[in-house]
Symmetry: C2
Subunit: 372 residues, 2 copies
């Protein structure tokens, strides 16, 4: 299917929107000074007390609480200076069409202030916190400010993408895939053939599914984040999901970490609750691994014993709103505790190497045996 | 430049060589049984006492010490069974043209032995050790046995590759690159234009160099391993180095970990000393970061304090043969201890975002300011 041709001016439009937000932010501060008012700006509170699970939207959201950052408050002055510095730098990055890593941003802006021993930033935790504040305050996604995420993970399948003037087919890349870069806001979809996106935890499982030509047989796009999906991969999945209206199916280890990868894809994360609408994919479905798979597919001999840290994590997850109000998920978590084991996706190789491709995934996906 | 067209039969030839090695291994065992001799095979010792630095070849090598694995020795019987099992599985993988991850191998072969409670393997450390032994014993690279490495890292630049029937240009992949798969033995080089390979520690630095079009301006291929280069990336670099006779230039952080990444690229690693000839690239050169860069480029304000663990690592490296007999490297390591700081490659962003591309790399590479 050919995706709609992107409005050629789309890139310019999002660039202008971001620049307008930054200018608006700056102009308000300048106006305050000119009117002899103390400059200040509001930041939505991102602490747990202001985060809730929106039952209707089915994602994590921020509440209405905000805090003010005031230039004339001695305790705020440093962060105020840092906010203005980062906002101004982002404006320059956008204007010069450069994207910048989080740590690179820190190094780029670290300087001694004139006539003092004070540095603009002492470490990238300081600059990262201010960046998060700015992002929430202006309501502009960090990537739209040209700050790129960590590059990790890859995509493989019948989809032709275009970026930075290049056009490439992600099913014509040998045994590898396209290495998903940290900035994908400008990726254009030329055409594709797929019914869904399969989000895979493990890169070795990705290799197995590429070899077994699962993208053809199940008509899907394969994406791996190599463990916990980094922000860049989640954003890219969201962009594909939005542009192509494709559902996402999570295929991860049957353990608290796999469950969490799924929940972050679907509901968003606590850390980035202010961005859930731009990251979370509420129509994500969970194909496996489940605790029931152990019996159904006779995998008892290839489970792994739970460690204390795993058990602790399971108990935490039993308290998460999106799990605790969902009987199917409570059952999985409790069954895991009862059995005292976890099951990795690669354990399916115990049946045969192509079992996952020929039997497990086709059976569960075609018969819609999902956990939702 | 067009690389020589690969002999079409090359793939079949390496496949046959590997199968012959496995068959030879098996036939020797069978012959012993038929002649009523106790079956056994030899394994080169891989402990530190049998590893040395070959001053002529300039790589880490294994000595002549071996140990025997005897079927009739009760202490050896389990490993003997495991060796035969893995050898037989690899034969099947090669015949069916499948490559298999290390953990997948473990799951694929874990079974209860008939009429016993004994498992073939208890964990993938057990199977991994036997795999290492087999690799050293048969003198066949693990990848040639169709066991793939971890997939991580990417390549970007003016090179057209072919694998598994696909042909793709690694300079036409937008802001990303080609995700290097865990198996690259069958990668064919169609053509390329480059004077050297730049091996980059940090994926965000890779993104910067892609954006600044360094591959064009400096005429090189960009490869990152995202931190410590995994085995798959090192093997791929070695294949490019061998086939294209391109030197490798390492661009890493100025700290003991960056130095170690460089030394593993150049000399091999202690863990894989039996494979140095197939991994190490003796003509690897070191462009940076160096302790001298801190003064030359006035980066004093963006160094990081050494931690105790860093200092300990530096002292260890001062004892490594390839560093301790090289005054230039001893000077770097001692200077690092004296100054008490380390310097990351991204710190160059403190001058300006394009400083690394416009000034640092061109200046140091064109004037051959290398540490060797």
């Amino acid at each position: 299917m050919a995706a709609k041709n992107k409005d050629k001016k789309f890139d310019e439009k999002i660039k202008k929107e971001s620049l307008d937000s930054i200018s608006g932010f700056g102009k308000k501060l300048v106006a305050a000074v000119e009117n002899k008012n103390p400059p200040s700006f509001e930041i939505p509170l991102r602490s747990k007390t202001n985060i809730s699970f929106d039952e209707k939207k089915k994602i994590l959201v921020l509440g209405d609480k905000t805090s003010s950052r005031r230039f004339l408050n001695v305790a705020h002055a440093r962060k105020f200076m840092q906010s203005a510095l980062i906002a101004s730098a982002c404006k320059e990055y956008i204007e010069h069409d450069r994207t910048v890593g989080k740590r690179e941003l820190y190094y780029n802006l670290k300087h001694s202030l004139p006539n003092s021993k004070e540095n603009t930033f002492e470490d990238d935790i300081e600059s990262g916190t201010v960046l998060n504040d700015l992002e929430a305050s202006m309501g502009v996604l960090r990537e739209r400010l040209h700050i790129e995420a960590k590059a990790r993970g890859s995509i493989y399948g019948d989809i032709t993408l275009s970026q930075a003037g290049d056009t490439f087919d992600c099913s014509k890349l040998g045994r590898g895939g396209w290495a998903i870069p940290g900035y994908t806001e400008d990726v254009d979809i030329i055409n594709y053939k797929a019914d869904f996106i399969l989000a895979i935890e493990n890169d070795a499982m990705m290799s197995r599914l590429i070899q077994e030509k699962v993208y053809k047989n199940l008509n899907c796009l394969l994406i791996t984040g190599e463990g916990m999906f980094p922000r860049g991969v989640r954003r890219f999945i969201k962009l594909l999901n939005e542009k192509l209206k494709l559902p996402v199916i999570a295929f991860v280890d049957g353990d608290p970490y796999g469950f969490y990868i799924y929940s972050v894809l679907k509901y968003g994360s606590i850390e980035l609750a202010h961005l859930s609408e731009r990251y979370a994919v509420p129509n994500t479905r969970y194909v496996g691994m489940t605790m029931d798979d152990i019996e159904t597919y006779e995998l008892q001999n290839v489970t792994e014993q739970l460690k204390e840290v795993d058990k602790k994590r399971i108990k935490e997850e039993l308290g998460y709103m999106w799990f605790k109000n969902n009987p199917a998920w409570v059952r999985q978590l409790e069954k895991m505790l009862d059995m005292g084991v976890r099951i990795e996706q690669q354990a399916l190789a115990n049946k045969s190497l192509d079992f996952v491709a020929k039997k497990y995934l086709p059976e569960k996906i075609n018969e819609e045996k999902f956990l939702d």
